[in-house]
Point group: C2
Chain length 242, copies 2
């Protein structure tokens, strides 16, 4: 496509927008600033991105792909709970590294504007949690667990971003992280059926079985049988809240 030398105007626009968004401390960035920084005139922006919002959406999409790349680069340690901590900390780190981008990514709440991206972040976390579920370490469904963890993770990151970098106390993150994890998972590696704690062990077993079934290719059961079985399991595993 493009040899070397100078990037194409489209790329320059993306970089200029990202840079100005990061620098200008939250205040709005004008299209004129962007086009000037990219050494381009206004119609070029609208030709490539249609909209100011379209340009910003492209910046956000790049941010998300960077975020997801960082998430995917975290290896599976074999200890599902430890993996959860890694991903939580990575989320916070990303937020503190790119505060303004993070704000546009996770602080933009308008329901119709953000679902696809945040949903994919949530889906990825759900995959990690599914591995924990397969290891019989979850006491709720991966779906619920992912939502709860992500909500708390975002809340903590926003709060950390909001305070001056000097007096940031990462203990807030670690503490809330352990709170959510301990509510969602069990630390014991013991046999789930003979769990010694007060957690309802049948629920742990059901969730683990559910996760195992969903991740494998069950040729043993007919599809209708499987469907009924999964429904039954899900009904059990969603009753852990009491």
């Amino acid at each position: 496509m493009k040899k070397g030398g100078e990037p194409a105007p489209k790329v320059r626009l993306l970089r200029a927008a990202a840079a100005l968004l990061a620098e200008s401390g939250g205040e709005p960035v004008s299209t004129r600033q962007i086009t000037e920084a990219a050494r381009v005139t206004a119609p070029t922006l609208y030709h490539h991105f249609g909209d100011k919002e379209g340009l910003f959406d492209a910046v956000v999409a790049e941010g998300f792909s960077e975020y997801l790349a960082a998430e995917r680069s975290i290896p599976t340690s074999g200890q599902p709970i430890e993996d959860l901590r890694m991903h939580w900390d990575n989320h916070v780190r990303f937020g503190l590294d790119h505060p303004h981008l993070y704000l546009v990514m996770f602080g933009n709440i308008r329901p119709e504007r953000r679902p696809s991206m945040v949903a994919s972040a949530e889906a990825f976390l759900e995959e990690v949690l599914a591995r924990a579920a397969a290891a019989a370490r979850l006491v709720v469904s991966p779906h619920e667990a992912a939502r709860s963890m992500l909500a708390a993770n975002i809340g903590v990151t926003l709060m950390l971003i909001s305070e001056p970098a000097a007096k940031r106390n990462l203990e807030l993150s670690a503490m809330t992280r352990e709170a959510v994890i301990s509510a969602v998972a069990t630390d014991s590696e013991s046999d789930p059926v003979t769990d010694t704690e007060g957690t309802p062990s049948v629920v742990v077993a059901a969730i683990a079985l559910n996760a195992a079934l969903q991740s494998s290719h069950p040729d043993q059961l007919s599809s209708s049988e499987l469907k009924l079985f999964l429904e039954w399991l899900q009904r059990i595993s969603s009753r852990s809240g009491g």
Copy 2:
């Protein structure tokens, strides 16, 4: 000041701004819309509020006073942990009742813009937690507990707001609430020193004593003695994170 009949222009501006902000689904509201709705011309706005931001700050301030009034109207049940649940749920309810206002109140992260208000909300929650601490039900300091709870509370509320009202699942709130509470407090009403669980009972006792000392007027100790004593307690109670 003002009899009855028609409110003063200043009040009309406030109400118009609040109404338009609530209606117009997150999109920016222009000063012209506001002044027209308030049946007032532009300079009146700038005379009373100096700025568009000043007007919005006033709206936000009203929102916060409404929020704090709702918080204060929650009676003390005598069961500190149950009180925590009440305040958490009240926070979520406020967010879902005034989603756009909530977004400006708690979603606006720019460090210099929001501290006073959010700080007062945090301070109020800290008071509630101090009562729990005085009842020897906290395993961390009220300050840390308030920050963690508020962060998770905001994160959950933002996530609930972001999804369509139809498919909102309040279980997310309840689950995360219990997670944070259980990490911050102990459910048992037993004597803290003879606590049966794995929680370090001396820490619970220290935090309770610390809270009791700070809330009373300690005429028994000299101020220098007290200062040293409090420092010592705080050093102990901050080591619960391990």
